[in-house]
Symmetry: C2
């Protein structure tokens, strides 16, 4: 289990750039890289310099920033591409090639032996360049395991630092990933990286299963942006690992997450999903009476993530038909209104009845509470400790 010691390869500037709405300028890329550096990710991965003249310039510009985070660029498995990558001055080169029969037939058209020959040529060159070397297959989950292990063992012998598993189409499930990584862990000395798409809702769970099985590096993007509906999101991975032990993610500046998500949402012209991990607007809301009662007693009853650790606050929703009298009591206390249990229960019934008629605001609940307080006999009001005479 490498949860105690794992690294994030933050790929917003590579996989994220493949999101349909992403068109980052040089300035925007530098801003994203700097924010990720401040957050504390161990690596940032950038689009191949072969993609366009700007891609090449941007790689070089970010490599020169002197960030604490290591810089990587992603390239196809050929000598020309990796040479250009090295020239940009990045700390590492992430080489990728498709190994599934689908990609071999319909994309690059090469056999497994040809892939190994290519990789050999590429890594013989790279290892003289003093850069970190990663070799990843693409569409790993639909590749023949024997093909995979043959290729991984070959590049491991050449001395690559990391081998990568990529669930390129989002088809993998956690038990498969756990098995595959466990087997790979026994076959190679290199670190193991996992990259997983989210088409069928397992990107976070698969990344977690990979770590449980011995993977060391996980690819993420901010908000999970990428091809199609994207990959493991930075915030989602953090939430998952935090739930096991907050110490495991204490190395990151967690209160920066909200800002990161907001910046990227603005740049790629989307809203932060209402249900986004940690930063979605409903992440720390509580509504049903039975939930709010318990959360008011002890937040951990219905919260595995402490909002305050992320610089956020919880919201207890009370103006609706599912409300309970404990939540109404809590509100009365917040307002400094002394009311009996009987009075609070009476107001709770009123709130439920009104909420059946129309959406209710907190103001309306407060009015009911104040009205009840004002209807109390003078003598009782005089004992209200919140209004002690000076």
């Amino acid at each position: 289990m490498s949860l105690e010691k794992f690294s994030i390869i933050e790929s917003t500037l590579r996989e994220g750039e493949q999101f349909v709405n992403a068109f980052f300028t040089t300035e925007q890329k530098i801003r994203i890289a700097s924010l990720l550096d401040a957050f504390g990710v161990e690596y940032i991965e950038m689009t191949t310099p072969c993609a366009s003249p700007q891609s090449e310039r941007d790689c070089a510009a970010i490599a020169k920033l002197g960030l604490k985070t290591k810089t990587l660029t992603h390239t196809r498995c050929n000598l020309e591409d990796v040479k250009l990558a090295v020239e940009t001055g990045v700390n590492g080169v992430d080489v990728v090639i498709g190994t599934s029969s689908k990609l071999r037939d319909f994309s690059h058209g090469r056999s497994i032996n040809q892939i190994i020959d290519l990789a050999q040529e590429v890594f013989e060159y790279l290892r003289k360049q003093n850069v970190e070397m990663r070799f990843s297959t693409e569409d790993t989950l639909r590749s023949d395991p024997e093909d995979l292990f043959q290729v991984y063992e070959a590049v491991d012998k050449i001395g690559v630092h990391r081998v990568g598993i990529a669930d390129t189409v989002g088809i993998g499930n956690p038990r498969q990933i756990y098995d595959l990584v466990s087997q790979l862990r026994k076959r190679v000395k290199a670190d193991i990286e996992f990259h997983g798409h989210n088409d069928t809702g397992c990107a976070i769970a698969n990344a977690f299963a990979a770590l449980e099985a011995g993977a060391t590096h996980i690819d993420t993007t901010i908000l999970g942006i990428g091809e199609r509906n994207g990959i493991t999101s930075l915030g989602g991975l953090v939430a998952r690992i935090y739930s096991v032990n907050p110490e495991y993610v204490a190395k990151y500046q967690l209160p920066l997450l909200m800002h990161l998500d907001q910046v990227i949402a603005r740049l790629v012209n989307v809203d932060i999903p209402f249900n986004n991990y940690i930063t979605g607007f409903s992440a720390f809301t509580h509504k049903a009476g039975i939930h709010t009662k318990a959360v008011l007693n002890n937040p951990s009853t219905y919260e595995v993530l402490k909002p305050e650790d992320f610089g956020l606050t919880r919201y207890i929703h009370i103006a609706h038909r599912l409300t309970g009298w404990n939540a109404i009591r809590y509100r009365a206390d917040q307002l400094g209104l002394e009311l009996t249990d009987e009075e609070i229960k009476h107001i709770t019934e009123e709130v439920k009845t009104l909420a059946d008629l129309h959406p209710l605001t907190l103001d309306e609940v407060d009015s009911l509470l104040h009205a009840m307080r004002n209807s109390q006999p003078e003598t009782e009001a005089a004992t209200d400790t919140t209004f002690e005479p000076a």
Copy 2:
């Protein structure tokens, strides 16, 4: 593995009503129930009639609709509540009680033996009422397994139809769920239901792991709405199971998914997340050159979900710096423009250069293609087979 034969318990009208923005009127609830019936879910679950007078009336109204889908309501584990539930005329009663020490201490305050006594009383009553009986623990993942099995075995002996596991706080991970359901499968005869929250990104993967381990029923809501950031979404579960075998979800009217998501998004005043399973706007978009080339050859290279099975279409994005010449060639063919490979590659470079300067539209790419065609010598244009003389 119960993937071949599982049932959905659609809880938009119960868990979904606990979403902070949900205030459904009677008419809206009937509309949602009817749409879910048309989609083909096996069950719909509704808020307890004890919540408010409208909740009670709505339960009864929907139970009377004569839907093909079975109607359930969710109640606390006490005689008064289940009696009211039965009176609404629903087909089944979903009884729940917290079993974790956290909920026993900070919520209802009962011991395990008291829980069993309560359950005994409740199910003795229910089994004379000719309704389906479900018993679920709450916050199951943080409960002592021995406590859990003691309670589940007791209610199984009484003859409940289903026992439920609820990851109420979203803390479970797929390997835990798999282990827990596998053990439970050996201990009880009853069907097994799984309800999972998504706080740490595992709601879909956990539901899938539960099915792999022998669970028979999965709780979902449309868009996943519920307390905090919600539970397993209907579309997400469908995507996950479809990726194993589309036959397993062929019993549902998949092209209705988009409409269901749109209706609920409007009613609870959220946008469909950009990255939502199947119905998010980016779910079937392809951008990077290497992806678009392969998808144009064979969509299954980078798609495990066929958009046409959901009444949707894919979008191949070509006007950007990551584009490849195969995608530009495809566009030229769509426009009926005969261009040589050299011409197409020249335009591809132009597109990349322009896209570095500013966001590019498809119109601009089309203009470049038309301009290239128009610049060809007359003689060559005369052989253009798309303009054969009549």
